[in-house]
Amino acid sequence: MRRSGKKHNVARFIIAILLFVFFFGFNYYYVVIKPENHTVPTDTTKDTIISFSWWGNDDRHLYTLTGIDAFEEKYPNIEVNCSYNVWNGYERRNRVYMLSGKSPDVMQINYNWIREYSADGSGYYDLNKVSDYIDLKAYSKKDLSYGTSNGVLNAVPIAYNAVVFYYNQDILDQYGLKVPETWDDLFTAASVMNKDGRYPLHLSDKHLFLSVLAHYEQTSGQTLFDEDGKYTGDTDTAAELLKFYKDLFDRQVICLDGKSTDTDFSNGTCAGVGIWASDAANYCTQLEDKGGSPVLSTPPRTSDNDALYGWYVKPATMYAISKNTPYPKESAELLNFLVNDKDMVLLQGTEKGIPVSSQARRILREKDAMNNYDAEAGNYVYSNLDRFETMVPSNENSDIIDAFCDEAARYVYGIADLNTCSQELVDRWTDTLHS
């Protein structure tokens, strides 16, 4: 009996000790250990910091930055450092990045850069290695072929792009002109509107070069650069290009005197613009806001044949991952977010054109988000994919375009004669393509 009482006392004592240990242990955990999770330095919460770069205008910068915020919320352990610029600055920035080996982990690239920086496929990360994190099923084989170099998938296309031409219907109506479809239509338009200080087309340097190139290929039946990027012409070919350029300038189809700006279309100084399809909304919305009526036309041709000979289609822009990235998985997650995530797709809409990703197109269709000028131009490109030529990277090479614009200006302003400028142009192109 007494032994049993002793056992009870020991049990009670043990229970009491356990209770105290539990309460004070709980208290200690709650007060001393757990609070470490509450007061934290902010920048140690991110395990991985990756970088992302792109080019564009305000709209693209702002929606992309908003998208990156959404990505960081979905992936709280990843922080993204952003680097962005307008096209001209970005192209040069990209060159610095690529040549110095310090490119961002994820980057928006231009189609021709794959040829420039990754001819053997080793210039960018092989995306097939991170295909577990990128939904590549949203792309057709042909789509992926644009980003493939030497059998290595270097990039995925965002949208297809081509030069499209918009005109201000009100100005055309004012002069009784039909919507220009041929080069002759443009010269005719110039002849009737020059007296009012108007000219038919505003073209940036690149689009001016592509227009001259298109005219040459349409009239000669020859491509200026072959599929390997080599110049197929000679000095006479260059002279033909320069002469047509001067013709456009002298007959005031275009304006070269430094006063031609991209706002000329919206303020009524010029009747049309040749632009990337992905820029359609930028130009047309401004004109529409001022009461104008933008109208899409086919790129100028020499005749009414069905083919769009001389005009090229390409992936508008592409996303690639740096070959030096220490974070391929996280970079792939970001890349996938940019092309396939619903939030990002809706933020981007058709700003870069009709998305190549079938998943992105489905999201936009469900939200009825393909009804602006970008979508109109994008659909035009999509529906005419077979009529366009596939872009040759040399056509977009900035050194080739710069050389052409420099020599064209020298010729137009009488600094040098046609032969000198033609020869100089061929020499510079040869140097560029050899390097």
Binding site: N27, Y30, P41, D43, N57, L65, Q286, K290
Partner: protein, 495 residues
């Protein structure tokens, strides 16, 4: 008595528990209060240091922009270019324009600028102009607007926020030459990296504000473009660099080189939230522990009480009873009898009988005292068996026994008869047992019985009357039972 003891015990336990509770709470409140002050002071130092660091970061960022602008002055050709010069050679103008454009591209090569351009008197733009800025002046007037801003501020360089209501960009204007202005802008959100420092605390709100207290940047992006709260402005007063502690928040301000300020607000509740958590949790634990102590105390006390009661009962038993026979002893019997008499209920008849064994001395002498004790125990058993629990029995001393009855019979004559029956039964049993066993010793007993009268104040008179009747029997033939015949005590009857 028992209740008093229990109340005293409960009071002691509650007092002890309350004392523990009060002392512990006092210590906790004292330590927590002191710790709160310490934490607030530490947080103020930490926030001040981080605020200063952010101010230096901002200065560095703004200086970088200003330096990029200043570098445009490095080329004399660029500096003297006038886009509105009608007499200039157009090719040369185009070349210079391209060169300036190239220089701007180089200067902004690795930075995220929204605008980086030179605006000329004729609104010609060289460089990169964002769509938002361009749209603000779609109908012209850009140069004039920027010139006006510079005139109102400092032509050598002016930072500007809220241009035409825009809250996305932070602008920097600087006069390039007499007919052009440099414009650089970046997105406000670019400052996110500038404001990201390791010492930042959760819940800390960091803002960059201009002279009008408009928020240029905040880690709460919804507040960009809004005004600093009136309460914060009021607390800061004219303070440009330093900290103030409001009732609810710690506010720190540091002035940047261009007059803007980095204002950091940390709610006090966040600073001391761990302490508050500690205090609440510890108080909860202490309350639980005190409750456990209270419950254990009450349980243990009741257990002790049960044990003590048993001991007291045992002592009481020994004090009230005769050890040999187990009947009440004389003292307890007298006390009980007196109590019965005082509390005598109506409709009842009380009696007292005293018994004395005859020739008991010869038992002791002949058979020894142990045998005598046995006789006494057997006689007490006979009494118990005969009178039962209705009567109170006692050994009054030696071979004398007392029986106090309280019969539920109102009339005295019936009581007498009833009592006589009991006595007869006793004598019959005695004769069959003890009387037979000790016949050679002539063992018998006498008794005297007296009823309690209404005028009996205590037991003494009743006892004396019964005692007289007993001795009356003793002096006669022994083995006699005498009962008061008359209730007034004037006579008695032998059975």
């Amino acid at each position: 008595m028992d209740n008093e003891l229990k109340k005293t015990q409960l009071r002691t336990i509650i007092l002890f528990s309350t004392l523990i509770l009060v002392i512990t709470l006092y210590i906790i409140l004292l330590l927590t209060g002191r710790s709160n002050i310490f934490m607030r002071e530490n947080a103020a130092s930490l926030v001040s240091a981080s605020n200063r660091q952010m101010e230096l970061n901002i200065d560095s960022y703004l200086n970088k922009v200003q330096k990029a602008s200043a570098l445009l002055f490095s080329s004399n050709t660029n500096y003297t270019y006038d886009s509105s010069d009608k007499n200039a050679d157009p090719y040369t103008q185009l070349q210079i324009s391209n060169q300036i454009n190239d220089d701007i591209t180089d200067l902004s090569l690795l930075d995220n600028y929204a605008d980086f351009a030179i605006i000329y008197q004729n609104d010609e733009v060289i460089g990169s102009l964002s769509k938002i800025t361009k749209n603000m002046y779609a109908n012209g007037g850009m140069y004039d607007a920027f010139y006006s801003i510079l005139k109102q501020n400092d032509e050598r360089g002016t930072w500007y926020f809220g241009l035409n209501g825009d809250t996305e960009h932070i602008y920097f204007f600087e006069r390039f030459n007499s007919y052009s202005i440099i414009l650089i802008s970046f997105y406000s959100r670019e400052l996110k990296s500038v404001f990201q420092i390791p010492e930042q605390l959760n819940g800390m709100e960091v803002s960059l504000v201009n002279e009008e207290n408009q928020i240029l940047y905040s880690n709460d992006s919804d507040k960009i473009g809004a005004k600093l709260s009136a309460a914060t402005v009021s607390y800061l007063g004219k303070l440009r660099n330093g900290s103030v502690m409001s009732d609810t928040a710690l506010i720190t301000t540091d002035e940047c080189s261009n007059g803007w300020r980095v204002v950091c607000t940390v709610p006090l509740r966040l600073i001391i939230q761990d302490n508050t958590r500690f205090m609440e949790s510890t108080i909860l634990v202490i309350l639980i522990v005190v409750a456990v102590i209270l419950i254990f105390g009450i349980i243990e006390t009741s257990r002790i009480n049960v044990s003590a009661n048993h001991y007291v009962d045992s002592l009481q038993q020994e004090a009230q009873h005769d050890r040999m026979t187990g009947l009440y002893n004389s003292e307890e019997f007298h006390r009980m009898a007196n109590r019965f008499i005082k509390e005598m209920p109506s409709g009842r008849t009380m009696s007292f009988s005293i018994f004395d064994l005859d020739n008991f001395k010869s038992i002791n002498d002949q058979h020894g005292h142990l045998e005598g004790d046995t006789v006494l125990r057997r006689f007490s058993t006979l009494l118990s068996d005969t009178f039962g629990s209705e009567f109170t029995l006692a050994r009054l001393g030696g071979d004398e026994f007392g029986v106090f009855g309280c019969m539920d019979i109102p009339d005295e004559e019936s009581s007498r008869v009833e009592l006589a029956n009991y006595l007869d039964a006793l004598r019959t049993r005695f004769n069959e047992t003890l009387g037979t066993d000790y016949s050679t010793d002539s063992l018998s007993f006498c008794s005297g019985t007296s009823f309690v009268h209404e005028d009996d104040q205590d037991f003494e008179k009743v006892f004396q009357r019964a005692d007289k009747l007993l001795y009356k029997g003793k002096k006669s033939d022994k083995a006699q039972d005498y009962i008061d015949e008359y209730m007034d005590g004037k006579g008695s009857d032998e059975i």
